[in-house]
Assembly symmetry: C2
Homo-oligomer: 149 residues x 2
């Protein structure tokens, strides 16, 4: 009798510049607020599991990225989940400082003013700043942390 | 004097089969549990804003996808946010039934057993079913909803 073991494969199916990636959604461990969305290649996810600190694949810099390596705003990973088709992960983290390079705790600091956008039938590639409401306060000034670029 | 209005452009920068997309993260409005991750093209996001019901771009079927069109498990959108570089959105929704086509409320029903994976230095493309713990109960049998495919 053969007893089968189901092999499960994390599906690094998202292709950006030839890198094979999963989407990573990052949530605050306590509040479940979504802090950011990023990509991980196999090395980044492996390093995240091994070290307990979030690593991503930077698609803009084309390199492995230890979150917080320049800002100090690291993410201690408490739990990791994957979805039905295993091409995305959710990380629940303890965030040091702020997740967003613009100085906000979460990158999702803008809310759509749905009523206004619908009223004006505004094109989503031609919004003005009043169509999106800033819903959070900055925790730091980006220039203080990353320098004046 | 010219008073400037900052133009903001949702950045449909993710390319899958020639479609320009944003990543959409879907959260339960009450609990903030992440239910699923999907893509939206401009039409899907526009329709979501107009109708208040979540629409996505199906990258497997290459078509606009009203979530719940076959299962009835629609998502009423309560709030929508976008991130710093405006290439991702977070939807807070009231989910009818279950979000996952496998019958779970959330697609993220598997948790990594980090300790075990690290102990065995298991390759992420060669996990076995015991490396991922099922953390939820099925709400429905997929065959009952989608038919026996």
């Amino acid at each position: 009798m053969i007893i089968g073991v189901v092999i499960i494969k994390i599906n690094f199916k998202h292709d950006v510049n030839g890198q094979k990636l999963v989407i990573a959604v990052v949530q605050d461990y306590e509040t479940s607020q979504v802090l950011m969305v990023a990509y991980m290649n196999k090395e980044a996810l492996t390093k995240t599991l091994e070290t307990g600190v979030a690593h991503y694949w930077s698609t803009s810099r084309n390199k492995l990225w230890l979150k917080g390596e320049s800002s100090g705003n690291t993410q201690k990973v408490k739990e990791i989940f994957t979805d039905c088709d295993m091409d995305a992960v959710v990380l629940k983290v303890e965030q040091t400082g702020a997740a967003c390079h613009e100085g906000y705790y979460s990158c999702f600091f803008r809310e759509f003013d749905v009523e206004k956008i619908n009223e004006n039938k505004t094109d989503l590639e031609d919004l003005n700043e009043n169509d999106l409401k800033i819903i959070a306060e900055r925790l730091f000034n980006p220039e203080d942390v990353y320098g004046d670029k």
